[in-house]
Symmetry: C2
Subunit: 340 residues, 2 copies
């Protein structure tokens, strides 16, 4: 492994000049620059990032804290974040905080603090006030996907609004008997997504003058099997069968559609189903959905933290940015067959 010294002597300049030539900071004549570059090239020299971050105080790393990896929403965020970071010359340190509280503490108190990252992106992190405190105390740019969360800049779709949009679509089609299958309110892993989507649903119902029957909300797991089970349960009893279901996520919606099919119900003739996400599978199932783009959310979060890093004094435009969530109509929703 050759050091900067070797490059310097091969190029016939000082270490200082090599550093300037390679980093592009400060004045270097273009002639020396090429000489240095060639010398570095021929020696296979690359700067030691530990040495350079020791003096500059920057690591070129961004930490990403995420509760799950293997789910479309979260995977897409990571992809977006990774892409954006790599584009700007930063590396991504991944922390999966799905597990024990012990590990969580360790990540917070130890890893993140240990001068290893320049900034932090926290994804739908149910964060305690102390933890938020800690993050802020790092003095490093932070962005949250999800939220809003007091004190740290966050971004994401407006979950209440998205849920209302979805429910309103069903109402507009003439449905009056609409159930909501959402996440379990007790096992919130994030910024109360489940509660918010339920809220949007309730708001829409109320605006339409429909009385809410608490049996109309069915909590389940946020995946296809969860939707399937809920669907089987709801649709199994013909007397208590709604004309439409608003599922809090596309995967849940798809599970419901599968359950409906199995019970011999046609969608949308016997049952309209709408979800949120515009999941890659939505198209195949003809699922009407509210689109959101987690990869773009990741990119925006990166933009926020990197700009704070590179443009001193820059701040995210708002405490919380509400991203667009638009209705995509497919074939899983239609007018109700029987009007109640």
């Amino acid at each position: 492994m050759s050091g900067i010294e070797d490059v310097a002597s091969l190029a016939g300049v000082s270490k200082a000049t090599v550093s300037r030539a390679l980093s592009g900071r400060g004045y270097v004549s273009s002639e020396t620059r090429t000489r240095v570059t060639e010398a570095a090239q021929s020696l296979g020299y690359v700067v030691s990032s530990s040495a350079s971050s020791l003096v500059t105080g920057r690591t070129s790393n961004v930490g990403v804290i995420i509760p799950v990896i293997n789910q479309w929403f979260f995977g897409s965020i990571i992809e977006g974040v990774e892409r954006a970071l790599l584009d700007r010359g930063y590396d991504l340190m991944l922390y999966n905080l799905t597990k024990s509280h012990a590990e969580r503490t360790r990540v917070f108190e130890y890893f993140l603090v240990r001068k290893r990252v320049d900034a932090v992106i926290a994804v739908t992190l149910e964060i305690t006030p102390e933890e938020a405190e800690q993050l802020l105390a790092l003095g490093k740019p932070i962005a949250g996907i999800g939220g809003p969360l007091a004190g740290i800049p966050t971004l994401g779709i407006d979950d209440v609004e998205a849920a209302r949009l979805a429910t309103e679509h069903l109402l507009l089609l003439g449905h009056r008997d609409i159930m909501h299958v959402g996440g379990d309110l007790d096992e919130q892993m994030d910024f109360h997504v489940h509660t918010k989507r339920l809220k949007g649903y309730l708001q829409a119902l109320e605006a339409a003058g429909i009385r809410y029957d608490e049996k109309s909300f069915v909590p389940t797991h946020f995946d296809i099997p969860g939707g399937y089970r809920a669907g089987k349960q709801i649709l199994g009893d013909p007397r208590r069968r709604p004309t439409a279901i608003f599922a809090a996520a596309d995967e849940v919606a798809i599970g419901i559609i599968l359950a409906a099919r199995e019970l011999g119900l046609s969608v949308p003739e016997d049952l309209s189903v709408i979800g949120i996400d515009n999941h890659p599978l939505a198209e195949m199932f003809g699922l009407t959905s509210i689109e959101q783009r987690p990869d773009e959310q990741g990119e925006l979060a990166v933009d926020w933290v990197i700009r704070q890093l590179e443009e001193p004094g820059w701040m995210p435009p708002t405490e919380h940015a509400y991203l667009p969530a638009t209705l995509i109509i497919r074939s899983s929703t239609g007018r109700p067959r029987r009007t109640s």
Copy 2:
């Protein structure tokens, strides 16, 4: 931010002793150790990893190169790797190499080399000889998931064997007319998985004395929609309908099942379907499958590289470790209705 100096003076010892006390290397009386620990605690001191890696030459980072994130197999690997790394006190730097060749080169030549990682785990990476060369030239432990790949230690299931197992299961049930829906041979993203699974299928057919008709292999995308399209195409024509299909991945198999249902065929009465993976959705669809555990593959890869790092001279037991892939029988496979 307080440095080691502050801790030293607060504890009334030298920097050297603080370093030894905190790192656990060298002799330190237990009394001073606690004094130092408390001092560090009260000052909120954490060592600067750049400073320490500058002198030790280790970063406590492991780089993971992976072509996709948002797919069950790959997501699970990342989860396994992350868990194992964090357990051992290492951090994970994620490189998603799905994109342009330019970016690929950049990662190889720049990021990985730049003294940023102690070891590399490459997941199903279609790697050129020069790239393998480069990786080895780093002089850092490397493990590949997938393979085998000459020169670097790899691990994974035996794809040929898994495919044969799957096909044999169908043969054993009495099927003679078995089609294979696999990946597109031209768009291999990895260690020729598609070719291998096709090969295992052919081997099983041959051993059973069944002549292979090249129309019996249908390539498609490796996901549910891909399987669905292939299924529609294959099953749409009643005259050319097999009694069983071996899908190269569970997601493809699920797509086929959905297509079959839509065409009014029952599984397994009219059509048996088997896949590979034991994907989380397999159970819901009653899908018979060959199980593999990507998360465990990730853990093993971590074990390999970390042991090389921490036990000088240690080497992975073999060039390539074949992990178990076991048949899980569910309800998507059964005896053929009509014997051909």
